[in-house]
Amino acid sequence: MRARGERLREHPNPGSSGREAAPAMRARRFTVVLLVLSTSSFAPLAAQVPAGGRRPAVSSPWLALLTDAAQLVVTPTFDAFEVGSSRAGVDAGIQWEHRTSSDRIVRLGLDFGAAWRAASTYRRTGVAAAYGLEGDRAGATLQLSAAVGSGAGARTVFSAEASGRAGALRMNVRTNLLHDHARPDSMALPGGRFAPSFVTESSRYTDAELSAHRLLGKLQASATIGARFGQDHAEKDQWAFAQVVAPLHSRLGLELAAGWQPERRDLAQPPGAFGRVALRLAVPSGNAPAPAPGTKRTATLAILPLPSGGYRLSVDCAPATRAELKGDLTDWEPVVLRSDRSAPERCSVVLHAEPGVYHIVMSIGGGPWTVPPGLTPVPDGFGGLAGLLSLPSPVNVERGGHQP
């Protein structure tokens, strides 16, 4: 019985050796094309960079990301399943990510993977491009990806994924179009003869996942539930699992996961109960290290010089609706920052002070007095800390900016 959404396509007999060799050759060719494209896309930009000089301004974020840091992430994994079988795999990805000042984010990734289960092997090569908006509290991203594989898994995979984030909750909806591995068949010919042939199975389904993320000290913990739609014969069309990632070193993390997972033929992943141990090794390129996925971003104290004189200072204070600030620019008397309807998550106040460097501390929602986020903490001489705040002169603002 065939699943809904699956299609059968028949091909002329390519010969048994050709059946095995053709997808592998396609995968290798695809890899070479990706690498050539990747390398050549750097060339025009690199050629424009004068020795020791600045790079030219790049208007498109897609081009800009190729001048940014790349990060190689290698993840060896070991999965054990309830039936006593196991799967070992290695995933490697090179990722470029560029974030603009308006929180637009573009990402380009090359993925390579290999998995070994029982006597079978699966290898895949893919490319993915994503575009989205990533703010401190919410974000939305659309990603398109394509991959080719050889061995005991999907031959070609196309997927479109939309993801959204609100606070600690994330929702992913991913539609996959898979052309599965060929299997021998026979084709009826006129005259009652049969010729050997092979078939390719195609399937299309959509996975929806909801996950909750939380930082427990240094541990990144998450719990995920998911469901699959559009594939009748899926052995596991609902799943749930928990995952913890512990940092072992600055670039090395240990991932532990357990629960029930769906079948992922694009990863040669069987369905059912599982336990996983994995290492995550992130290696930045020589340009700059990139933040790890899921890194918590902290809203910094924002300083806006006002045309009428003075400065508006604002900070992310949610869920509180007020914060207090005291420092050199208030004679160390507390002043209140309040949220308003237009930006309920931000508390702000207008202060009139001369441009200069000041020491301040802040209390959010009645909490302890601390250094405001984004300011450099300096010893206060009393056993504590104060934040170093720079209020820019209007001239410097016109010239292109200031720092807190």
Binding site: P56, V58, P284, N287, P291, T295, P355, V357, V378, H402
Partner: protein
């Protein structure tokens, strides 16, 4: 003759205004500190004024101590220490250093900068002043980047004529990398190099986009 009277009148008026200002500042100390502490702090402030050092940061340091419930001894010690730092900063940054530069320089000294580093920055003083670079230096030192490395990074950025905005960008990027687990020194090194190479593109525009 009338011109001389006018000049004398202006001088007297200026003295009155200056004295009134100082009195008002002293009044803040008197109101927030006990008399003995206020007197001890006032002596340090008078000494600083005699050396043409900015005294408002010293008053603020005393008020900070009062606000934080510090003991009299701690307040006096902290004010004296800051006065010394301001003096050293001024010696290193030059007599024309602004109050903001001296406060930022004093903070950098507090965090481990040496006078040689400050002097070398003075030699590369940009048109916009050294406040941004000194803030950048203080940030790098606070993040644990060794003093020599911090000074080298700031000097390299000054040589590349990067503005205060790029120093702010450096801080944001290095913070981001440190949160991701990167060592501060390595992050600062590669990020500053990237900013020197294409800092103008990374600088946020006033209209919210990027260059």
């Amino acid at each position: 003759m009338s011109g001389q009277r006018l000049a004398i009148g202006l001088a007297v008026l200026l003295m009155v205004i200056t004295t009134a200002g100082a009195t008002a500042q002293d009044a803040r100390l008197m109101r927030r500190l006990d008399a003995t502490t206020a007197h001890a702090v006032a002596e340090i402030i008078d000494s600083a004024r005699a050396q043409h050092l900015p005294f408002e940061p010293l008053i603020q340091k005393a008020l900070e101590g009062g606000s934080k419930g510090a003991s009299a001894e701690m307040i006096v010690a902290a004010v004296r220490r800051l006065a010394t730092r301001l003096q050293v900063a001024r010696n290193s940054l030059g007599a024309d250093a602004t109050e903001a530069e001296l406060v930022a320089g004093a903070a950098a000294l507090d965090l481990g900068a040496d006078t040689q580093s400050l002097r070398s920055l003075r030699a590369q003083k940009p048109e916009g002043g050294l406040t941004g670079p000194l803030m950048g230096l203080a940030y790098l030192l606070q993040r644990g980047v060794p003093p020599k490395g911090s000074a080298d990074i700031v000097r390299s950025m000054l040589e590349a004529h990067l503005s205060d905005a790029e120093f702010a960008t450096l801080q944001r990027l290095v913070d981001q990398d440190i949160q991701a687990g990167a060592p501060a020194a390595a992050a600062a090194e590669v990020r500053s190099r990237a900013l020197i190479q294409h800092g103008a593109r990374l600088r946020p525009r006033t209209d919210g986009g990027t260059r």
